[in-house]
């Protein structure tokens, strides 16, 4: 083996080892994050955290019951508003869309998907908050605007994966087009559609920026959905940025709870998809 060949071989070995290190670093980041949150947060996740209100600075104890309930309210509002719109738009794109208009909608959905979430917050502030008040509704609308394009595109993608022959079979039996879609295409793609929806809802559950000036925050129980509402992500932000140690402790705990929730939804969504995919690509 000449010197040059030996050099080439060792360079190859060196570079490939380097790529392996890159991969290990990337994956270990996830475990560092999880480990850090567990280490700092698990002691503070107790009964009080789920059942009590935040206490004023200086007092030890308290919890984030209002933020947990507020987050659930806001995400539920966003889900009720966003999922049907996104799903129907996805059905249009996959089944009814012509050339120009469908292209336009698809392009706009991708555009909306790429808009920084804080800009969505500004938009909702201008349209909703400035006219009424900070409210859970405003937060829900902001999150729904993020959820709609995600749902539309994932629904379209999974419905496109349904083989054309299935549609033709139904149509040949005399079914109308909407009947074909409702009884053949959507059932065939439902695992994928459900996965996309769960991932979308998980994504908006962790969004903070669009809530900062739509649902704002609240140290107490709000007076219904028309009042400013606490949410877990905003609470994490405000508690972490505060100068009080006991609030930091709470922020870690809330971060741990939020992360476990989001990761659980992600794992569940992927299990649904992998457990016997109904659609063969």
């Amino acid at each position: 083996m000449t010197l040059r060949n030996r050099w080439r071989q060792s360079l190859s070995f060196f570079m490939l080892t380097l790529t392996g290190i890159c991969a290990v670093v990337a994956v270990s980041l996830l475990f560092l994050i999880l480990g850090d949150l567990f280490y700092n947060g698990w002691r503070s996740v107790d009964w009080d955290f789920f059942t009590k209100l935040p206490l004023p600075p200086g007092e030890t104890g308290g919890g984030m019951a209002n933020a947990i309930v507020g987050s659930i309210e806001i995400v539920l509002l966003a889900t009720i508003m966003g999922l049907p719109v996104g799903f129907m738009a996805g059905v249009y794109l996959s089944e009814f869309g012509g050339k120009t208009f469908a292209f336009l909608v698809r392009y706009m959905a991708d555009l909306l998907n790429g808009v920084p979430s804080i800009v969505i917050g500004i938009f909702v502030w201008i349209v909703v908050v400035r006219r009424y008040h900070f409210s859970a509704y405003a937060g829900g609308i902001a999150l729904a605007l993020i959820l709609i394009p995600i749902t539309a595109r994932s629904t379209e993608q999974f419905m496109n994966a349904v083989p054309q022959t299935l549609r033709e079979g139904a149509l040949a039996l005399g079914a109308s087009k909407w009947k074909t879609i409702a009884t053949v295409v959507v059932p065939a793609a439902y695992r994928g559609i459900a996965t996309g929806m769960i991932l979308g809802v998980a994504r908006i559950s962790g969004e903070t920026a669009p809530l900062l000036f739509t649902s704002l925050n609240n140290q107490f129980w709000g007076a219904g959905l028309r009042d400013q509402t606490a949410s877990l992500p905003v609470m994490i932000y405000s508690h972490a940025m505060s100068p009080y140690d006991d609030w930091h402790r709470q922020a870690w705990a809330a971060g741990l709870v939020l992360l476990i929730g989001v990761l659980f939804a992600n794992v569940a969504a992927r299990l649904i998809l992998s457990r016997g995919i109904a659609v063969q690509k």
Binding site: C22, I33, V105, I122, A152, L212, P233, L258
Partner: protein, 325 residues
Amino acid sequence: MATLPAVSAPPHAGARALVMRLRKGDEVARLITLAFASSILLVTVALVYQLWVGSELARHKFGFHFLTTSMWDPVSGQFGALPFIYGTVITSVIALLIAVPLGVGAAIFLSELAPARLSSTFTFFIELLAAVPSVIFGVLAFFAIVPLMRDYVDPFLKKTLGFLPFFSGPIFGYGYLTAGVILAIMTLPFIISISREALLDVPVEQREAALALGATRWESTWQAVVPWARLGIFGSIFLALARALGETMAVTMVIGNDPNIHASLFAPGYAIAAILANDFTEATGDLYPQALVALGLVLFLLTIVINALARLLIIATTRRGSAHP
């Protein structure tokens, strides 16, 4: 749009055909889904319109000087966006400088070297990393990365590269560099998963041909496989850039909130998304909120331009791309 097929029958026959179709349900279903699809279009147009109108006062008062002046003084009503644009761009560039080599390297390992089972396990973890909410990255950056940068990384850089203006000056822990590091961690999963898919799409023959000519494993990867997949890799980089530009929470928590431009990367700065998060609810008067909406418009346009550039680049590479038959 909703065009009906042109029929040359008399009008009443056309109307009857329409009624027939409506009765069958297809046309109704089409119109309903069309309405929902149009709502996406409507929302996007409304978003652009509201940002445009909502910043009218600031746009008229400052014009394009808004983008090029660096005075930000709400008390005297002077607003220049340059420090924020600079902060947003520089932190994103730092993020890419770190995340691109790391991400492409990891993607090469996952697609070329790792056994299938290991590769899919790693990819699963990386997708979970992408799902971590940004406020959690913010908490970690605030409590863990800031002290790490202040006590170890920044002093080390200052000692070794201190002759460069980027790595001189006092060390705070908060600043452009720290924000760039956390952005790098946040954009890494996007680069890895999209680049990996692009690399997996490269035909096996491409690798086999290179190896048969006597190339080493690395030479085959770097000279035959990566160029083939460059389109997807560029795509992943631009996607990561767009994410980094618009990222709010983690940057807000560690950038230091100083509306001045500093050459040193150790220095605290500001970013567009960060000042929006901090000041929007507190802005009073007529001009101040409008200036902030104008910043939102700048951020929006910046991400649009990056997306458009990505598309143009991809079109250019496909036209020129000799690797793609």
